[in-house]
Amino acid sequence: MSSKEIYSGNELVVKGAIAAGCRFFAGYPITPSSEVAEGMAKTLPKHGGVFVQMEDEIASIGAIIGASLSGKKVLTATSGPGFSLKQENLGAAMMAEVPLVILNVMRGGPSTGLPTRPAQSDVMQARWGTHGDHPVIVLTPAFPKEIFLSTVEAFNLSERFMTPVILLLDEVIAHAHEPLAVPEPTEYEVVNRKYPEKLDSLEIYKREMGEPPIRPDFFMGLPIHIDSLEHSDYGTPTTHPEVVELHQRRRLAKVEKYKDEIIKVKTYEEEDAEILIFAYGSMARASLDAVRELRKMGIKAGLFQPLTLWPFPEKALEKAAQGKKKILVVEMNWGQMIYEVERVLKDRNIEGLLRMNGYAITPVEIINRVKELTHA
């Protein structure tokens, strides 16, 4: 095991990306994500990789799509305003089935909002931000080791499912400096996209329902066509309703079919809990502190922490919520994932501790809210 060193969350994303094989980064500076661009600028040239600072966020995601199609594992990093700008090309990558990873370090919004303050208000945008029906994978790690491993996982999932993966951090965990022994390569797997055994078919999107394309990259020996328009098995434009429907459904099913393999959650003190807290990112950490204190006080609180926010961990949440008297959703926004929790746990007693004012919700506030709810 390597010895412990001090890293910020943003630095761990750089470490994780390099470990996962990322060799191309294009970005545009924005607080609180800039350290990722800076780290990649320092590191990539040493590995023979490319770092380029583009003229804006739209150009940045365009560049990584081009590089991914040309065989690289690619990353861009941004925050709210830049994430908004990226939405159209994010959809292009979903449509053309291009693996890439986007990091969004969430800050207070809307608009320029609170550049240096934490928030978790882009969780629904991450799901629905780009137009059209589209498959989405969104990861929300919280602790340093999770940030490193989720970054590796983001690349693995994007390569496996040939689709963009969104990594969401918030300002608190992106900037907190904490000790970590960076996991050794034996502690994680690195997945690479699949290529056809023989380069003899131009039907690069011809797959079973729910299966990602297996196709060559550009310049591999078989000239291919990639399009942001709806396309046939050949990748060339079509408006044929049956073909359109087939590929619309196939792309959505890619994530749906394998969601049990994609979804990761953690639970703490959940078995005998009377009140279950649902929290992700830095709020999972504040909630865990709260749970530990509440237990000392004899209050049976537990935590459900989704590491995968989308696809939403319905089954795991249902299971964890069984027999619980109350559910408390803690998030740094004015109510977003709580809608999803309410959808899944329809008839349950669901409360929210929801706030976005630039200050993180503290363990003490969570403790007080739980006490209120449990009449302790």
Binding site: V52, A59, A67, L69, L202, F218, P223, Y234, T236
Partner: protein, 275 residues
């Protein structure tokens, strides 16, 4: 006879453009240059934005990428930086290159990455039914300038020059031989190379301006065309509404990836970086 068929993706034919559209001429000129240079189709990537001109890549039997409106150069930049030994050609319409994609165009000129940029300037938003574009001539009626266009238009060549492109030429579809020559010269030049190809959209520009058929519209282009040598003796006012054709810029400036190679070397030799 040049072997140009290997550059055609005939499976995707027929071509989508209106009969008599100038884009077909630009397509053919590009195919002929590929054939003349004999480049391996799989070593080529043709990229485009959205528009009638954006449909071009589909019909080349090379690697091809149809991106989003205005963003073609950004995708191409990523591809070229990822595989610097390969050739990357990009097509944009005038709206694609100069309106929505204007900033990418400027920065591509500045970077001087070895990409070939062919701008199909038909002075109109063809695909969307004939709205005004940044190059629509003054006075012309379009669907969004029903009383005549009152905005000044861009000079693509001057902009490319000022922003740092290292090869800049303009030609028209009326002069396919010369068009082929400047495309070839652009392809052989190392660095960001721009060819503005003036094209006819008689359907969505001509129709509303008494130029509804290809021949009158091509005649209109011809009458406005001035070779660079002749233009030298004309005043800016006289040239304002003309299409000056020829090679405007051919200069050497360090190419972007060549510079990046040095950066990598520095980093790998343990060179200094800012803390």
């Amino acid at each position: 006879m040049l072997d140009y068929e290997k550059y055609l993706r005939t499976r995707t034919f027929p071509l989508p453009w209106c009969p008599g559209c100038g884009i077909g001429t630009i397509f053919k000129a590009t195919v002929m240059v590929f054939a003349k240079l004999g480049w391996n189709p799989d070593d080529l990537l043709v990229v485009s934005g959205i528009g009638c001109s954006g449909r071009l890549p589909t019909y080349f039997n090379t690697n091809t990428l149809h991106t989003t409106h205005g963003r073609a150069l950004t995708f191409a930049t990523g591809a070229k930086l990822a595989q610097p030994e390969k050739k990357v050609v990009v097509f944009s319409g005038d709206g694609d290159a100069l309106a929505i994609g204007g900033n990418h165009f400027i920065h591509a000129c500045r970077r001087n990455l070895d990409i070939k940029y062919i701008i199909v300037n038909n002075c109109i938003y063809g695909m969307t039914g004939g709205q005004v574009s940044p190059t629509t001539p003054g006075g012309f009626v379009t669907t969004t300038t029903p009383y005549g266009n009152s905005e000044p238009h861009f000079n693509t060549v001057e902009m490319a020059k000022a922003a740092g492109a290292t090869y800049v030429a303009r030609e028209t579809v009326n002069r396919p031989r010369q068009l082929q020559t400047v495309i070839e010269n652009a392809f052989l030049h190392k660095g960001f190379s721009v060819v503005e190809a003036i094209s006819n959209c008689h359907i969505n520009l001509g129709r509303r301006n008494k130029l509804r058929h290809p021949i009158p519209m091509l005649k209109w282009i011809e009458e406005l065309t001035v070779p660079l040598a002749k233009a030298k003796d004309m005043t800016p006012e006289e040239l304002e509404k003309r299409f000056v054709v020829g090679e405007f810029v051919k200069r050497d400036r360090p190419e972007y990836y060549d510079i990046y190679r040095e950066t990598m070397k520095k980093a790998q030799e343990g060179g200094k970086h800012a803390e």
